[in-house]
Symmetry: C2
Subunit: 202 residues, 2 copies
């Protein structure tokens, strides 16, 4: 960093803070009013940011929303990592891990991501932005889950079973979209943790 850059830091901090406020507001907005109602103007208002400032950061809602889901996923996975670290004194149980995953896939972030995926399914330009993002987030979620479960993917079938766990919690996220599915989800994940322990031979 050069000496000249230093005086600009407060402005850069403000700019970063504005950007983060927009990203957070975009997730809330998508999760609550859906894709059609999520425009840069609506998100700017929700974030308490002028429309001009918002447009400076994101020219289109596609850019804004994709950046929001990426940012949200990074934050969420960092949180999951922290919570696993807290549990690290004792090795986190399979139930701890699947419960954390279940929470991740029923959060407003998941609802926001779902809006983005579904919008992208009938919009080729948006799809081109979302497919690499989904692949990156998917790989990171897989890596985190393997590590948390202490799974050995060199054993035949283990990789597929870890993937199935992530597809299962994604399906549970969808099942909880319209109604409170938490009681059923808890019973199901408790049983799945037992099945997983057997399948991974922990």
């Amino acid at each position: 960093m050069t000496a000249q850059a230093l005086p600009r830091e407060p402005q850069q901090d403000r700019s970063r803070a504005t950007r983060r406020r927009l990203l957070g507001a975009a997730i809330d907005c998508l999760a609550s009013v859906g894709w059609a109602g999520t425009t840069v103007a609506v998100v700017a208002e929700r974030a308490g940011v002028s429309r001009g400032a918002a447009q400076h950061h994101f020219r289109t809602r596609e850019e804004l929303v994709t950046a929001a889901v990426e940012y949200g996923s990074e934050v969420r996975m960092a949180q999951m990592r922290e919570r696993l670290d807290v549990l690290a004194g004792r090795r986190p149980s399979t139930l701890d891990v699947v419960t954390l995953l279940g929470e991740m896939y029923t959060s407003p972030l998941f609802r926001a991501a779902l809006q983005l995926w579904v919008a992208a399914s009938s919009d080729d330009q948006l799809r081109a932005l979302v497919v690499p993002l989904e692949a990156r987030v998917g790989r990171e979620a897989h890596r985190l889950t393997v590590e948390a479960l202490g799974a050995d993917e060199s054993v035949p079938g283990v990789r597929e079973t870890v993937q199935a766990t992530l597809d299962l919690v994604r399906g549970l996220g969808l099942a909880g979209l319209l109604t409170d599915d938490s009681a059923r989800r808890t019973r199901l994940l408790t049983q799945w943790a037992a099945t997983l322990d057997q399948a991974l031979a922990r």
Copy 2:
């Protein structure tokens, strides 16, 4: 049926055929262009039905789309039942059953239902139509899966494991929304069938 009703049958048949054409076109339309682009007028055109005739059957797109997803689910489950009957000479294997389920949840019907669920998540009136429909379809899919797997739900954990299978294929449907996920899905369902055989102690 009274004697008077008989001469009206051809008209009733035509009316039923028109209705079915509209329902089929609504599923195709939802699956390909999404909720925002699916209006009664667009669906009528796709079905080759006049707008007036379409409005006679369905006053709003909410009515049309909900009826379409319900009709599509009934057809799809009847097809699944037929295919299981064909396999009935030999008892269908767990892999047969999960493969059929995997196909069901990656069909245009699933994509259409997904559009409806996501639209309902930010529209209270639509949600009121969709929640009972989703519950009915979910119960029927569960019943069909229990029967096909020959699962004994009086055994602790079996009910949750069957439910997990349906949540898994729903998650796989979502994973296949933007990219061709079929190779991964096949590997995963093959492994899932093995896990399920152990869990259900078949």
